[in-house]
Symmetry: C2
Subunit: 118 residues, 2 copies
């Protein structure tokens, strides 16, 4: 095991999907806004914990994706937590600019659905 890999105690707990990934929720640490959901494998989680920059696995491009490397819309990591089942990550960040590639602050801003409780 490489010295650069994820803490073995964390790796032993992590429950990955068949592609080796877990969903990672990015939340603005102070306002509580849910910014986006990305995906992480062990290495992306390791890099997120050790570089201070939220790093995901891009399922569409099949490569690591340091949020903001292209757009400048960096996520500075404030804290990282696993959930009770160790199959989801919550990353609290300080988001520079827009989290969404559309330019919206969050990826959920334009997507509200109609409630129809009758």
């Amino acid at each position: 095991m490489s010295a650069n890999s994820l803490d073995p105690a964390v790796a032993a707990r992590l429950k990955r999907d068949p592609d080796g990934l877990v969903p990672a929720i990015a939340q603005q640490y102070d306002t509580g806004e849910v910014l986006m959901l990305g995906w992480m494998d062990d290495e992306a989680l390791h890099r997120t914990l050790t570089t201070g920059r939220a790093t995901y696995w891009s399922r569409s491009r099949q490569e690591y994706w340091v949020k903001g490397d292209t757009s400048g819309h960096v996520q500075h990591v404030k804290s990282v937590a696993l959930d009770c089942d160790a199959d989801t990550v919550l990353v609290k960040v300080d988001q520079v600019g827009a989290a969404c590639h559309t330019g919206d602050r969050t990826c959920f801003d334009a997507g509200e659905l109609r409630l129809d409780a009758s």
Copy 2:
């Protein structure tokens, strides 16, 4: 198509995983706490939109799961949004009691990982 199924315009946008599911982030609507992550298929999303109660698909039990039916820890739905890729749902709820089966308020309360940016 049944009159009880998900709005076809929403169903046409939704991008599901190979099991027909999308991750659903539950957030306390007023405090912004991220409570848990569950999974929804079309029917669970439909029920969430139309019943006012957050409803998930339990991957472990392979059945619909109306949050709080067993525990009493109901999630009253305030709003529902899709993200920009239509592959994630954000459900803002009013959570009664603890969201986590461990008794913690959120499923992330006990799982903080150590940051090691050097």
